[in-house]
């Protein structure tokens, strides 16, 4: 074994550049898969951090599946269950803090972006958890605007015992006197502000309501505890869950989608890495035919030869994967660092370090090393078929690749048919599968298409610049080895396919979203809470704010959104209460199904619900269905009257209903987002001053002008565009390596022929032209296939997004196609430089003697 290892290492070492470039492909694939999958859990973790706060300290926590508040009587129901020793009903709400709330300094990053306000009955909460008061006192029954906070929060806010803590609440900025300090918080999650239950109910405007019941049991016996949990579940009913609050559950669905997209990109990267490895090993086998034949002659078995090549693959796979893991972690860390700023400001979450699970490591290693080995297997087997006679045979001939042209052609046709069928079904999963079928199919039928395509392009080339027959020579060289040519073109194909796909998808999304953006956010002003689109963690304002705004002179319409959480078919859903009249004037929904007028009328007249596409896809609900929504206390049935989306909520599972209904069924009267239109000719400066005045008690809202907000969002899109194009270029580099490889094999295999050409009078430049023409033909084939594949993949991806509920329609990426053609051909020419120089530099005598 050590002999093989030595040999493999020496061979790899002998071609450092090629080895590192080849390994880079694997690094890249693993990096994407591993890196992205460590980032997403970190996000999810950040979202769940708040919820973790109380977990683990008590035996059971009972919350509503909808995440909403429920009557205090539920606590009594729980207390009545046999085996429950003590219960405590609390009202806990996250309060998102506006930027620079405590430090007033935009330069330094805020460490606190949210606190959790916990309203509790002092005696009962002390019976369930211990509170070690360091200074002052704990809460007492009958306390009003007083709070107990941790030392760390006090330090952060620069407050001391007896000082006043101001917090934004739905009823406006509220002052609480600090009466006690608790030890520094150790668990992850938000800092807590403890107030009495009645005070909390007052601040959140939900009298008689709680949203968490904590319970401790009187037994430590696991079986008995499980029984008690079951009994509690039975007692409170199906709309409750034994577990923690899940604010922002609806965005987790969205993160999952992103994770899948990045994993798909990583898989494509690895697929390409596999190709490159495959191609490289073909080069290796061709180059070392003599060595291999000699080894066979002096007694190496077929297995030994296979092993030798595979060990080389293994080394590259292991090194590449290891580097990919390290870089992936680094990239994850960097991405999180970059995002955490946005995360804090936009989503009001604290993003931690990348999350590495053993399962992910195992998966990444398996995939990274597996792909390398798999890619090396075919060339290794070809190597093992090299007979000992090869060592004795003087000339370097073409490697005999088993021709299964007929079979593979038809297999390719079958795969392509499968891909087409997947397109017809419109099912997102099948579409993703279809993309792989499509690529695989093209690769299989490619060898059969190389000859006609090469012929076509060579004629074009001959017209263009290679008049002295060099184009024909290049064409002949390719036609001689259609499989090799196909494999090389395939790498270009994949790189360009990704480019065209990305362009197609982005163009489609951009067009649709821009439309929606204009439509949804066309109002003159917006009041934006800290966390847009994750409404559940926002602290809104009571209806009085809207009244105040309407009272401002020059204001025409004020439309607000009210939020409540719920579940439909076990899918977490964010409900938005709207007033259709005002809403349609300031904003709008893009309808996919249903008539806007009827739909808006129906949500006001009865229990009608407009759902967005994401919800439609993930909950499996159709237009006209009756759906059961989980309310804090039970369930209620709504009818789906339309399928439509707005810009802000297009990515999350969302339903729209009337504000009357959200108040009646979910007890919500809190506005979380406002859109305001002015009367024609209104004095903007005066209006803005009046708004600022009205917003004084509500620092949680930021006033932005509609146009400003639209521009901001456009900027995000442009950044995403640039990022994806950068990634595509990164993907294209390995493709370049693969092309250089193939052309290099061509030169090695034809050394003698090139020497002969030179001997009979071909100039160096003519030899270079042959190689260049060959590269250009290869690139042209790859580009042609790449455009085809990219169009399919782009259409597939767009359909997949549509299937997932994003309101997109496919847009043809004309500009990107032009770019792709240019990039493909330029790369082809660029890839030819090294081998062409190599060929031209060949010494005639040496080349002719080359045996």
């Amino acid at each position: 074994m050590s002999t093989y290892l030595t040999l493999a290492l020496r061979y790899l070492n002998g071609r450092k550049l090629r080895t590192s470039l080849t390994t880079l492909a694997i690094v890249f694939g693993v990096l994407l898969i591993f890196g992205m999958n460590t980032v997403m859990p970190a996000f999810i973790g950040a979202f769940q951090a708040n919820a973790l706060a109380m977990a683990g300290q008590v035996d059971a926590t009972i919350t509503s599946k909808s995440g909403e508040a429920f009557p205090e009587s539920v606590a009594e129901t729980v207390a009545a269950v046999a085996g429950v020793r003590v219960v405590s009903g609390t009202l806990e709400r996250g309060i998102g803090l506006p930027a620079d709330f405590f430090d007033q300094d935009p330069a330094t990053a805020d460490r606190l972006t949210a606190v959790t306000l916990v309203g509790a009955v002092p005696d009962t909460i002390r019976s369930i958890a211990s509170f070690n008061v360091l200074q002052g006192r704990f809460l007492e029954a009958g306390d009003g605007a007083v709070a107990v906070i941790t030392e760390s929060l006090a330090d952060e806010a620069g407050l001391q015992l007896g000082d006043t803590l101001s917090l934004p609440t739905p009823i406006g900025l509220t002052d609480l006197t600090i009466v006690g300090l608790l030890p520094q918080r150790l668990l992850p999650g938000n800092e807590e502000v403890l107030v009495t239950l009645s005070e909390a109910q007052r601040l959140f405007n939900v009298p008689g309501q709680i949203n968490v019941v904590d319970a401790n049991f009187d037994t430590a016996n696991e079986a008995a505890r499980a029984q008690i949990e079951a009994d509690i579940a039975a007692a409170v009913g199906g709309s409750f869950t034994i577990g923690v609050l899940q604010p922002g559950a609806e965005i987790l669905t969205n993160i999952g989608t992103a994770q899948r997209i990045f994993t798909l990109l990583g898989a494509l990267g690895l697929l390409m890495g596999g190709f490159i490895i495959f191609n490289t090993f073909r080069t290796i086998v061709a180059e070392r035919r003599h060595d291999i034949g000699m080894l066979r002659a002096i007694g190496a078995s077929r297995g030994t030869i296979t092993g030798l090549i595979l060990i080389e693959g293994l080394i590259q796979g292991v090194v590449g994967t290891a580097a990919g893991l390290v870089l992936g972690y680094g990239m994850g860390w960097l991405a999180l660092a970059a995002v955490s700023q946005i995360g804090r400001q936009l989503l009001n979450i604290q993003v931690g370090a990348p999350v590495v699970t053993p399962g992910l490591v195992v998966l990444s290693v398996t995939v990274g090393v597996g792909v390398t080995l798999l890619a090396g297997l075919l060339p290794a087997r070809a190597a093992s078929r090299v007979t000992p006679l090869e060592a004795l045979r003087p000339s370097i001939g073409a490697l005999a690749w088993r021709r299964i042209a007929g079979l593979s052609f038809w297999a390719g046709v079958v795969l392509l048919a499968g891909a087409a069928a997947a397109l017809v079904t419109g099912n997102a999963g099948l579409l993703a599968l279809g993309s792989f079928l499509f690529i695989g199919g093209l690769i299989l039928i490619a060898p059969a298409l190389v000859n006609p395509i090469a012929g076509l392009f060579s004629r074009v080339l001959a017209l263009a610049f290679a008049r002295d027959g060099t184009a024909q020579l290049a064409e002949g060289n390719l036609s001689r080895q259609p499989t090799r040519a196909a494999v090389t073109s395939a790498t270009t194909m994949i790189a360009l396919a990704i480019l065209v796909m990305a362009a197609g998808l982005i163009t489609s999304l951009a067009i649709t979203f821009t439309e929606m953006l204009e439509n949804s956010l066309s109002s003159d002003y917006l009041l934006v809470p800290p966390t847009v689109a994750v409404w559940g963690v926002n602290t809104g304002a009571s209806p009085t704010l809207a009244e105040d705004l309407r009272a401002v002179d020059g204001v025409d319409v004020v439309s607000s959104l009210r939020f409540a959480g719920t579940q439909i078919n076990d899918v977490a859903v964010g409900l938005l209460g709207i007033e259709p009249q005002a809403y349609t004037q300031t904003s709008g929904l893009a309808f996919v199904e249903g008539d806007p007028e009827t739909a808006f009328r129906e949500i006001e007249s009865g229990r009608g619900l407009i759902i967005n596409g994401v919800l439609q896809a993930s909950a499996g609900v159709k237009m006209g269905d009756d759906v059961t929504l989980l309310t804090p206390t039970g369930t209620v049935t709504y009818k789906v009257v339309g399928i439509a989306s707005d810009y802000l909520n297009a990515k999350t599972t969302t339903g729209y209903l009337s504000q009357a209904n959200i108040a009646a069924d979910f007890g919500r009267a809190e506005d979380v987002f406002y859109q305001i239109n002015l009367k024609p000719g209104a004095d903007r400066a005066a209006v803005e001053a009046a708004f600022k005045q009205a917003l004084q008690p509500y620092p949680q809202f930021k006033l932005v002008s509609g146009q400003e907000y639209v521009d901001q969002n456009r900027g995000i899109f442009d950044a995403a565009f640039a990022g994806i194009y950068a990634m595509v270029i990164f993907l294209a580099i390995p493709s370049l390596i693969a092309m250089i490889n193939t052309l290099a094999i061509g030169v090695i295999e034809r050394t003698r022929e090139i020497g002969m050409l030179r001997a009979v009078g071909a100039a160096r430049s003519q030899v270079q032209t042959v190689i260049l023409a060959e590269a250009l033909i290869l690139a042209a084939i790859g580009t042609a296939f790449g455009l085809l594949t990219g169009l399919y993949l782009g259409y597939m991806a767009t359909s997949a997004f549509a299937a997932l509920g994003f309101p997109v329609t496919y847009a043809f990426p004309g500009q990107a196609m032009v770019v792709a053609v240019a990039v493909g051909l330029l790369f082809g020419a660029f890839a030819a430089i090294i081998p062409a120089r190599q060929a031209a530099r060949l010494d005639i005598i040496q080349a002719l003697r080359y045996e």
Binding site: T6, N13, D291, A297, I298, G299, P388, A391, P394
Partner: protein
Amino acid sequence: MSLIQTENLAKVYGTGDTAVTALSQVNLKVDAGEFVAVMGPSGCGKSTLMHLLGGLDRPTQGRVMIDGHDLGDLPDQALTALRRRKIGFIFQFFNLIPVLNATENAALPLLLDGRPKAEAHRQAQAWLAKVGLGDRQHHRPDQLSGGQQQRVAIARALVAEPALVLCDEPTGNLDSRSSDEIAGVLRQAANEWGRAVVMVTHDPRIAAYADRIVFLKDGLVTDETVLDPQKSGNSALIETRMKAMA
């Protein structure tokens, strides 16, 4: 029984009208310690004979016996093992692994046979010393001259103590001085170290080093000449020849 023995060995390439007889009815015996040269015009079948003797190719008819083993009876695995232990190969193009040094190249057959590395290297170095490369043990092939590379190949062929050494135009790529040296080492391998050495060459000068020459023409053995050095009167014969030429 001789170390190598062929019985009515024949090889036909292709079938029907396109069939080409490369070798027919070859009966050849080579003993241990014997140095046999195979000569003949190109296309006479000498390479084919080598391939058959080395078990690299299978005969159409007849048998090849090496040290009592009938190569025709052996499956690929066993044939590979036999090549590893009983046969050493020397090629025209040296065929050294470029990334390994002289010792590592020479030790390859032992390593392939699963011997411990230290032992394999020790033996390889011993053989390198015997072929006159004691001071070049850690040189890479590209740091050695053609003649030196071929000596490494000879050390590699001999390291596993094979009974038979097969050489295919071993001096075809060398200048005449190196050729003489290589032929001398091969002669030594036979006469001093007791191997049976069979060498294909088209160079009469190199063939003259052998103990016996087998002439092939159109796949048939046309002649066999024993060049016995001990033959009495040989030196007298040389003298007369030299007088005639002087």
